[in-house]
């Protein structure tokens, strides 16, 4: 991060915030009965976990007399209670109690406080953001099936980066940077396929292991603009579950949860830990570039750059706030 902001515009003022499911907290960051105000998507909203464990999200201001529902409010059963007059709201934004009036108007019982779709999957809380509040168009992806037993969560990481979220996920399609920035010995040979809201890349790459170079397979599945899973299958078997969440058009919250298969020997555990360290090292090599780069609408690309424009073509769908059509399919080979 820089002490002073950039002098020149970086192109992000012109870029909208895409719609989609976005991670807003880890499950462990919101206990039953806890309320939090979150600032993402250049707005704010309030989330709470009911006493039965369900997570809800609503707009921040009470529709009654405007109190901020994230300040001194509390959870009563599954409901959020406003601190100002003790109106109670359910997860649909409907009023369930007004302690001083006899009849709650039916339309307020239905909903009078805009609620956000919420989904909690694999230890991450997601909300659906759409600037026009269109309903979710796809489901949050789950971890791939673990070959045996359950994935073991080894590490979590997060970073706040001065960049538009589109640029972070573009990085995976930018093949030529792997050598320059990360010193990956050979440019990855890959294939990218776009299928509706899902983007898949399979990369076969040479990876360094204690026994020398080894050919590994890296499968990336990105579902929507906010979520991707990278599965590394070689001497170890690791899943890096990544979420990018726009704080606004200029700043992005990046989260990783790193899993490995159960039953690894000490030796394979060491390789696994080294792989995770290497991934963290790589993102720390990317971040200084990300913090100050600009977005070129028409980049100068040459052979070897990777399917950056195919990626952008799919991504443009996430800015199509009117259209209800499904996106098309694109396949790009490298």
């Amino acid at each position: 991060m820089n002490d002073t902001g950039p002098v020149l515009p970086r192109g992000y003022d012109e870029m909208p915030i895409p719609f989609g499911w976005f991670a807003v907290a880890l499950s462990t960051e919101l206990a039953a009965g806890e309320v939090k105000t979150l600032e993402y998507f250049a707005t704010e909203f309030v989330i709470w976990r009911g006493e039965q464990g369900e997570v809800h999200a609503v707009d921040p201001f009470c529709p009654h007399l405007g109190a901020h529902l994230g300040v001194n409010s509390d959870v009563v059963g599954d409901d959020l209670r406003c601190p100002f007059h003790h109106w109670r709201f359910n997860g649909e934004g409907g009023v369930t109690d007004i302690p001083y009036t006899e009849v709650i108007p039916p339309k307020l019982k239905r909903s009078c406080l805009p609620a956000w779709p919420v989904c909690e999957v694999d230890g991450v809380i997601f909300v659906w953001y759409h600037p026009r509040r269109a309903a979710p168009k796809w489901e949050v992806a789950r971890l791939p099936e673990c070959p045996e037993g359950e994935w073991i969560l080894a590490e979590t990481h997060d970073w706040v980066i001065d960049i538009h979220c589109q640029e972070i996920t573009e990085n995976g399609q930018d093949y030529a940077h792997f050598g320059a920035v990360h010193g990956v010995p050979f440019a990855p040979a890959g294939e990218m396929k776009i299928d509706g809201w899902v983007r898949r890349s399979t990369v076969v790459a040479e990876m360094e292991t204690p026994r020398g170079l080894m050919t590994g397979k890296i499968d990336v599945t990105a579902t929507g603009p906010g979520q991707s899973m990278t599965e590394f299958i070689d001497v170890t078997h690791v899943v890096q579950s990544q979420q990018v969440t726009p704080i606004d058009a200029h700043r992005t919250h990046l989260r990783w949860q790193m899993y490995h298969i159960p039953g690894l020997s000490d030796g394979r555990l060491r390789v696994t830990a080294a792989r995770m360290r290497d991934l963290v090292k790589q993102v720390n090599q990317d971040i200084p570039i990300w913090n100050r780069k600009r977005f070129h609408d028409k980049p100068l690309l040459v052979k070897g750059d990777g399917p950056i424009l195919a990626y952008r073509q799919q991504y443009a769908k996430y800015y199509d706030f009117d259209d209800d059509a499904e996106p098309g399919n694109i396949a790009a080979r490298h």
């Binding site: 009036t101 009849v103 709650i104 108007p105 039916p106 339309k107 307020l108």
Partner: protein, 105 residues
């Protein structure tokens, strides 16, 4: 257009003779002349404090309650024919009308 005379019975049974202009919202006339406790929600169909019964001729000259009003009247356990004064506009075809304010509970 001429003034309209309204004979209003409040919830204590006292009579009031008020005048209204065509186009006035009945709730506003009652609030401004009888009690500021009428029309607390400002016409959002969420308080029930302006619940009235109108004389049959007036009542029959009006379109029936909309969905939100009908639903609120039901939640208020209102007697048949009751209306919310915030949804009643004094018509220019009216010369006089009788209004009984109803308890909302």
């Amino acid at each position: 257009m001429s003034e309209i005379t309204l004979n209003v019975t409040d919830t204590d049974g006292a009579g009031h003779t008020l005048t209204a202009q065509p186009g006035d919202v009945l709730m506003h006339v009652l609030r401004d002349n009888i009690s500021l406790d009428i029309g607390v929600c400002g016409g959002e169909i969420s308080c029930g404090t302006c619940m009235v019964r109108l004389d049959p001729d007036w009542s029959q000259s009006l379109a029936g309650p909309g969905d939100d009003e009908a639903e609120m009247l039901e939640a208020l356990d209102a007697p048949g024919g009751a209306r919310l004064g915030c949804q009643v506009i004094v018509g220019d075809n009216l010369q006089r009308g009788a209004v009984a304010l109803l308890h909302e509970d």
